[in-house]
């Protein structure tokens, strides 16, 4: 069927192998029309791209991601916050009616809300290893469904107009595709904002096209069912939401170094910290103490660890 053929990005060249650690071979796809299509093959780490599917792990990861996305800004006024005086509305005795205090009680119309929502942080914790396993399962499920493609590099050198790119996407059958681009230097260059000023500034001046190839970012921006993002920003929810995923080789390298189970120490990328939330709704204020142990690193010369709310010294 034509639609079936269009849906598959690249069939995994399945090798008959009895070894459990045999790599997954995938024919390289190409965003641009090229002569040597389907001649190059990439070998993928099986611990990242050939995991058995665990839907319960995906369920946990998706819920964790969606909880973190919640704005948590629903707010109501309690009886203490509703405007009004504290005057007793009617005498305690003698009126024959129920006794009442001030006019802001939740019993009355126009009064405050009892136990109403307040702005709070809905983010939940999930063990780092479960999050990483979820990423591996999500990538493996896309490989299994022949819905994952790898290109050598993600870029669009054929001009700045969206039209030709949209035509190419339609011809390839790559609608509803997520493009993941890894950083070119091989290590994640994203600077994690640490100080309160940096966090506020990162929230105010969010640049959505930072770290993306500019030509491709421009050309995909106006196409609603195609999305380009950095591999570092991908999570399980994103990978499952988009039916097709196309990685470039740098992104494949990033995922294998982040998630691979037998990665040598000098190549390993540590798991990214959970998404930072604005300081207003930080966990310390929402009632959970944010305990962070100071990181021990060799490049700590002359830099003091940031003292934020709830940080605990390692030896106190």
């Amino acid at each position: 069927m034509l639609s079936l053929a269009r849906r598959n990005i690249s069939k995994a060249v399945r090798c008959l192998s009895t070894q459990a650690d045999a790599p997954v071979y995938l024919a390289l796809s190409n965003l641009l029309p090229s002569q040597n299509a389907n001649e190059e093959v990439v070998a993928l780490n099986p611990s990242v791209f050939a995991q058995p599917i665990r839907r319960d792990i995906l369920f946990l990861c998706v819920n964790h991601d969606r909880d973190a996305l919640r704005q948590g800004s629903a707010s109501t006024k309690t009886r203490g916050e509703v405007a009004g005086s504290g005057r007793k509305i009617r005498p305690q005795k003698g009126t024959g009616r129920a006794r009442l205090g001030d006019a802001q009680s939740p019993m009355l119309r126009g009064g405050g809300v009892a136990f109403g929502p307040k702005p709070r942080d809905f983010a939940t914790d999930l063990p780092r290893k479960v999050r990483m396993l979820g990423m591996r399962i999500a990538l493996s499920s896309r490989v299994r469904e022949d819905a994952l493609g790898v290109t050598s590099s993600l870029d669009w050198p054929l001009g700045a107009k969206t039209g030709p790119f949209a035509n190419r996407i339609a011809r390839l059958g790559w609608s509803h595709t997520l493009f993941l681009v890894g950083s070119s230097t091989g290590t994640s260059q994203s600077h994690i904002p640490l100080t309160p000023d940096e966090i506020v500034r990162a929230q105010q001046y969010f640049d959505p096209s930072a770290g993306l190839p500019p030509r491709l970012a421009r050309v995909t921006r106006n196409i609603p069912n195609v999305h380009l993002m950095r591999a570092e920003d991908a999570n399980v929810l994103t990978l499952l939401k988009w039916p097709r995923v196309v990685l470039d080789l740098a992104a494949v390298d990033y995922f294998e170094r982040l998630l691979g189970l037998d990665v040598p120490e000098h190549l390993r990328i540590p798991a990214p910290p959970p998404p930072l939330i604005p300081l207003r709704f930080s966990r310390a204020i929402a009632g959970r103490s944010g305990k962070f142990s100071p990181r021990i690193s060799d490049d700590d010369q002359g830099q003091d660890v940031v003292e934020s709310v709830g940080e605990r010294q390692m030896f106190e």
């Binding site: 021990i296 002359g302 390692m314």
Partner: protein
Amino acid sequence: MSTLPRFRATAGRVHLFNLSPAFGSQKNQQRLGRGDGSGKGGTSGRGNKGQKARSGNGKPKAGFEGGQTSILKRFPKKGFVNQNEKTWAPVNLDRIQHWIDEGRIASSPEKPITARELLLSGCVHNVHDGIKLLGDGAEHLKTPIYITPSRASQSAIKAVEKLGGSVFCTYYNALALRDCVKGRTDRLSAAPTRRDDIVWYTNWRNRGYLARPAVDKNPLATERTKMLSAELLKFKQQVFKQIQ
């Protein structure tokens, strides 16, 4: 029979709409005061009236026993809490030897084992106020080790030196220990100021780093250490005149 995760065998692609949790992993919470059918409606399991049925804590205060002399009041207070007390993280010789055999830790006279190496290799889990080297399993120690703990037991010192290693007990205050663990070398570590510490760390019996033999033997002794040792050992020559 091992317990395998139970989940419905859903065939087909993985979408956001066909995920479900592991069977039995997510139990609904009990909600009180929501009707008779739940069994916890009405008084919500609190019975009728009384102090315990009210909102809030339901108890006057912690430790209150209804007026009976509480367990906290029956017995007298005793003693005091020593503010200068130090908790040393113990590490025994057999554990260090095991770490050396596995290749997780190594030492030389120029790069001795410090709190940082012990912590990063997992030999100790927490440095507390400093490391104390103890001699349990001394018969398993085979390699000479060069170590600078905060304290060391006599049997540990003897066992280490018998094999040609060295122990120099170094004074670490809280800041110095933190710098040692974090690998910072831009600051100087403070010398001991308290009399007890000065007496202890200038004593060669303890292998204190400020003792004369230690300063001579330690390849890492700097000019500053030699100066400190000379100054702090002056107490041995001090004579106090009798006031007539």
